[in-house]
Structures are given as C-alpha cells and as structure tokens.
C-alpha cells in the first residue's frame, strides 16, 4: 500500500495537460517589473535608481532583515521606474521596472551546462550563499530558505524531506524539473543535507508521476542517503505537514514547525535553485512556470525570468482563448485569480491557469445542513462549518480556541461543500483577525 497522510484530503480532477511538454526557455520580454516583496517577510530595500544600468544577476534589492530575501535583476537593461505595480497580490506594490537591452550576465555566474557534483562548501557557506542568492520556497509559499536551514539552538533536524508531490491539479513544473534536471536536483539535495547536517533525505512524489519516480529512483543510487518514495495521490499531500505525516509518520504539533519534530521540508524547485546558487553562483532570477488551461492552444512549461508579464507567457502558449473568464496565478486549489494579465511572474509563481467562463464562476450558495463533508475533508482536523459561523459572527477569540491558525488554506473544505459556502474565505478572514488579536496581546 502506498503511503499517504491520515486525515482528510480530496481528489480533484488532475488535468495535467502539460505533463509531457519539455521545459522551454521563454524569449526575453521587452520589459520586466520585479516586485520587491516576492517573499514572506519584510520587503527588500531597493538599491538601484531610475536610469541605472543593470546586468542579469545583479543585486537590485537587498534583504531587509533575517526573514526577507535578496532580489536580483533577471535581465540586463536600464531601470525605467521604481513605482508601485499591480502584482499577483491584487494590490499595487513597489516594483523595479527594467527595460531589457541585450542579455549581459554578471561575469561571476557560471553559465556552462556541465554538472558540478563536487561539493566543497561547508554548511555555513552553503546557507550564506542561499541567502545571498535570494532563494525562497519555490513551492508557492515563498518563505526565505535560509531561515528554514538555520536550525534554532536546541533543535536538531534528522531528516530532509524533498517535496516533489505537486498535488495541485494542472501544475507540472516540478514534474518536468525532476525529469529534466534530475542530477542537478540530487546535488542540490546533497547541499541542503550538508547545510542541515543530516545524512538522510527523502523525496516524496505522488504516484501519478511514475516516470519521475522511476528516473529519480534510478539516479538516486549514485548519491548517498537519498531515497525516493511513491505516495498515494491525494490533495493536499504537498502541504508540509501532510508530507511529513505521509513519509515519516510524525505529526507537527499545533502552532509548531516541522523542525520541532526533526524534519525540514524543501521543494524540488528550491533544491534545484540551491544547486544553481551554490555550484554555479547563479542567484534566483528565473523559474519554471506551467502555463495551462483546458482551452489554451499549447499548454507548456516555460523557464521564465522573474518579472516577465503573465501576458507574455500566455501569448507564448498560444494566446488567450476567447472564452477565457479567469486567469489564476498558482494552482487551481490555492492559487488566486489575477486582476490583470500584465502582472509580473514572481518567485512564487508556479503556474498560470486559464479558465473558460463555464468553470470560473462560483455556484450559488445554499445553507449548511451540517453534513460534515468539510470536516472529513480538512487535512488539519478542523471544523470549517463551525469556523465560518464564528467568523461571520466575529467570534474571533473562539476561532483562536478552535485552532483556526492551523488552517493552511488548502481549500479542501470549500471544494467539498455541497452548499457551495465560501468556507475558506471566511476562515481566512478569521485567521487575519486572530493574528491581529495575538499581535495586540504581545504589544
């Protein structure tokens, strides 16, 4: 029997149209807008001014604190403006807009395609390089990776878990990366292992990617300590806590972090970025993005420079179909509709999904009959039907007591609800308010 997590979970239709499309390098855009807040934590401090010439890989915004990340230019050219730009958050936020001129890279970046297997950096150097390269969790949460690798005193990691689950429907960027950059990925994992001081790494992959499981199992033999594990297909297995439960059967305590139970989880995309940063001296300025949709002419996986407008990606995938009503940044379960297709690709953009009008509207709400489907779907063991009532009645203290902060916003409850209630919307509101209450209590 294949492993999986114990509680809840749902089975949305997979729709992985781009699974057999190799990663293509997207042509350089005419202009990029690089937001300075692409990660969780403080926005980076801008280092360039209007009119400055920048090169590919040049540091243009510096990390503003421990939980923050460096931002590098993804193109060479001239800084056109430093103004707020509408990004995938739905708000205008400060961004550096650069007009592309040529493609001149920083000379320190090793652009040779050879695999560099020898690891000569020690743990501290690896973490420093990761922080310098501005690497954040590329699964979508965009939490600065160096923070996760800096294990707090008194705690000890004993296993590194690599997330190759890609449980979101439609998305295939991690799948393609595992197939095409297997060796680089393995070296990246070894770097992460050394940074953490662990000798065991487990790659979790859902069973709907048999080719990736086979290939990685094959090459993992060449690297010590790395094992590949096939997992039963179930959403949200890519959630950190779910993956830990599935692979090593440990449970992260409520309000705790994986490191509390000796595990650290990184995405395959992050591991690949770590390889590039440490072995090739290349900061994070491009990533693989899946562009897909039922009616999109050419669903594809592109290697995209950060800051490229989403409209460029859609054009390269055959253009926006006429019946399009919604474009989602991220996966269909956790992603968010964009308010303009000119928004830039950021470090957290794992996919762009184009939905036809027939699939983009919410269905009419009815009333809760307490069927408890949401309770059985919730992978965190919460009671969404109760939380929505509390949120609607502004009983936020009670929500805190009901552990609303354990919710990771996977959307399984809303997906299952036969009454089409906006469960997650209200739970998210509750989380925001509870966080406010907690902050007020601290001050």
């Amino acid at each position: 029997m294949l492993k999986t997590f114990a509680k809840g979970g749902v089975h949305p239709p997979e729709n992985k149209f781009s699974a057999n499309k190799p990663i293509e390098v997207l042509p350089l855009p005419a202009k990029v807008s690089i937001p300075v807040s692409q990660h969780i934590g403080a926005p980076a401090t801008i280092l360039v001014a209007k009119g400055d010439k920048v090169k590919v890989g040049q540091l243009i915004a510096q990390s503003a604190g421990f939980v923050s990340a460096n931002i590098h230019s993804s193109v060479s050219g001239t800084v056109e403006s430093i103004d707020p730009v509408l990004d995938s958050s739905g708000y205008k936020r400060p961004a550096i807009t650069i007009v592309v001129e040529g493609d001149e890279w920083e000379p320190t970046i090793d652009r040779s395609p050879e695999l560099k297997r020898n690891i000569d950096a020690d743990a501290q150097t690896i973490i420093k390089k990761i922080a310098e390269a501005g690497i954040v969790g590329l699964g979508g949460a965009t939490f600065p990776s160096h923070v996760k690798l800096s294990v707090p005193a008194g705690k000890k990691a004993d296993v590194l878990i690599i997330n190759g689950v890609e449980c979101e429907p439609y998305l295939t960027s991690d799948h393609r990366l595992m197939l095409e950059k297997g060796h680089e990925l393995m070296v990246g994992i070894q770097l992460l292992m050394r940074a953490l001081g662990v000798d065991k790494a487990m790659i979790g992959i859902e069973n709907n990617k048999p080719d990736a499981i086979k290939y990685l199992t094959e090459i993992a033999k060449e690297y010590s300590g790395i094992t590949v594990h096939a997992l039963k297909v179930k959403y949200p297995q890519g959630g950190e806590k779910q993956l830990i439960k599935a692979l090593i059967n440990r449970e992260v305590p409520s309000g705790g972090l994986p490191i509390d139970i000796g595990a650290v989880v990184h995405n395959v995309g992050t591991a690949y970025a770590v390889y590039e940063a440490v072995q090739k001296n290349k900061p994070l300025f491009e990533r693989v993005v899946t562009v897909t949709g039922k009616n999109l002419p050419k669903p594809s996986n592109f290697l995209v420079r950060i800051g490229t407008p989403v409209s460029d990606l859609i054009a390269a995938a055959g253009g926006l179909p006429d019946d399009t009503a919604k474009v989602v940044n991220g996966g269909p379960m956790m992603g968010k509709a964009v308010t303009d297709i000119a928004v830039p690709v950021t470090k957290g953009t794992s996919g762009i999904i184009v939905f036809p009008a027939t699939e983009s509207k919410r269905k009419a709400e009815s009333v809760c009959i307490r069927c408890a489907k949401c309770v059985s779907a919730c992978p965190m063991g919460l009671e969404p039907y109760l939380l929505i009532r509390m949120s609607q009645r502004m009983m936020f203290e009670k929500m805190e007591h009901e552990r609303v902060l354990d919710c990771m916003e996977c959307g399984s409850c809303s997906f299952e609800c036969p009454a089409n209630l906006p469960l997650l919307d209200y739970i998210r509101l509750g989380k925001t308010e509870v966080n406010k209450i907690i902050r007020a209590r601290k001050n």
Binding site: L86, S89, G90, Y91, K92, A325, K336, T339, D340, S360, K361, R362, E365, P422, D425, Y426, R428, L429, T432
Partner: protein, 288 residues
C-alpha cells in the same frame, strides 16, 4: 396521622425561618452598593446599545459617566447634546455642547466615473474582498460597494445606491455612532461635523496615487494638484500623499475650493444651488 402533618409543617416552617435569617445575613454581608445615579443616567440615554460612545452599551456608559472626573471627554453620539445635557444634570454638572457629527462617504466613484475592470464573484463582504484584491476598478482606494457598512448600521441610516453602487448616508437617521467607520476596510467613511443646516464641504476621495494614475482610474478622483490648498483663505486644506484633506474645524464653508477643483472631487452638501456666473458653466452641486 395528625402528628405527622403537624411535625412536617413545624419542621418546614422552622427551616424556612432559619434559612431566611441566613439569607438576610448573607445579603447584608455581601451587599452591593450601587450608585443610584447610574440608573438615572441610563434612563436618559437612548438605549440603543450601539457602542458608539466606546463603552459596552448604555449601562456601561452610565457607569463610567457617574465615575469620571471629566465628562467633557465622554459623548453619546446617538443622543447628542440634549441627552448629554440631561445626563449631566443628573450628576449635577453641565455638559459642553458639541457639534453634531455625521458619517461621510469619501468616494464618488460611481460606474459612470470609475470603470469596472474586474468581476468579483466571491462572498458579498468588503472585508473578504479586501483580503483578496484591491477592488474591481483601477482605483485601489475606492469603495467596493459590498455593503459592510450597511450590515453594521443599527439605525438603518446607510444604504447602497443601486445606480452609483456607493453607500448613501441618511442624514435624518445617522447618529454618528461610528460603526460604519470601523467596519469599512478601506477607511473611506469619516465622521465629520454636520455643519450649520447640514452644510458641509469635503474631499470625496481618498486616492493617494499620483495625479495621472488617479485620474486614469477614476474621473472624479483627487489628483493632488493642490489648487484647493492655494485658493483656501482659511488654511483649512492640507495636501499629503497626493490627497487633499479639509479640516472641518477650520473650514468656513466659502466654497472657493469646490469651484477650483478640476475633477469635482470636492463636494458641497446642502448648499442652495448657485446662480450660474458664466454662460455654459456646469453646476457642480451634487446631492448625496
């Protein structure tokens, strides 16, 4: 038979008397001495329990009112000056009269002036929408029109206009309790001085973008040009972050800024219609 009944009656009567004595003693021992004025003050309050004064209900206000040294810092916005005068009389003081206030919606971005560029399909709540995106128009400051303010109003004083899709405050019913001010996640609603005969002037916009983007998103946005600041003879207008703000305590209602504003972002309410000065000049009086 008889003796059983008599015994029972006697025992129960004795028990009753004994317990009554105990209860009396306990009541004496733990007597709560309450200021009798609290009840009197509460009686003159409106009893809406709206929380507009900042206390938990009218009783809470009354309790604080009899204790406080400075009644000037407390005000019941619903009852207004009359109620405050009566309440002050109860405790033997006099309340200073305050200017009546009213909730003002600082957004004029009806669909006519502000194009809808996004369709929102989520639950009908401004708070939820704010968590998702900046709004269905190009203006990220403007009213979402989903009616969180309508939902919290206890006086039925604010409604969404079906044509402009903006909230409209009913001057008769609004008590300036401030519930809508707190409910609006965009901070659009402000409590302002009601003004003599309801006459008031305010900047009906909170867009902090630079002139170009602001104007592009909404035709009646404040573009931060500063013309009103220059024309104001009373130094009542300040310009900060590309947005003009009129201090209602300094404004003398001369209406010069209304004439000067190139976008019509400054509104004059309850003024008589002006006589047309120049041929062809359009009236900028809007009723809201």
């Amino acid at each position: 038979m008889n003796s059983i009944i008599i015994t029972a009656i006697l025992v129960l009567s004795l028990l009753g008397v004994a317990l009554a004595v105990v209860l009396y003693l306990v009541a004496q021992r733990f007597k709560v001495i309450e200021d009798p004025r609290i009840d009197l003050v509460e009686a003159v309050l409106p009893g809406a329990n709206c929380g507009g004064c900042g206390y938990p209900g009218c009783r809470g206000f009354a309790e604080a009112f009899v204790k406080t040294d400075d009644i000037g810092s407390m005000f019941c916005p619903v009852g207004g000056n009359d109620t405050m005068a009566k309440a002050a009389e109860v405790i033997g003081q006099t309340a200073e009269a305050k200017d009546p206030m009213i909730a003002v919606v600082r957004c004029s971005g009806s669909p006519e002036y502000r194009k809808r560029v996004v369709e929102y399909d989520g639950a009908s709540s401004c708070k939820l929408a704010t968590a998702l995106y900046s709004g269905d128009t190009g203006c990220q400051y403007g009213c979402l029109g989903l009616g969180d303010c309508v939902a919290v109003c206890k006086f039925d004083a604010i409604h969404i206009d079906p044509v402009t899709l903006l909230p409209v405050v009913d001057e008769e019913k609004c008590t300036a309790c401030g519930a809508c001010v707190k409910a609006c996640p965009k901070f659009i609603i402000e409590l302002r001085k009601k003004g003599p005969k309801g006459k008031r002037i305010y900047v009906s916009c909170i867009n902090k973008d630079k002139g170009g983007p602001a104007r592009k998103a909404c035709q009646v946005a404040c573009i931060g040009c500063g013309k009103c600041v220059k024309v104001c003879p009373h130094e009542a207008i300040t310009l900060e972050n590309n947005l003009a703000y009129i201090d209602y305590n300094k404004c003398k209602l001369c209406r010069k800024c209304v004439e000067e504003c190139p976008t019509g972002a400054i509104l004059e309410i309850n003024f008589p219609p002006r006589k047309p000065k120049v041929e062809g000049q359009t009236e900028s009086v809007e009723n809201n």
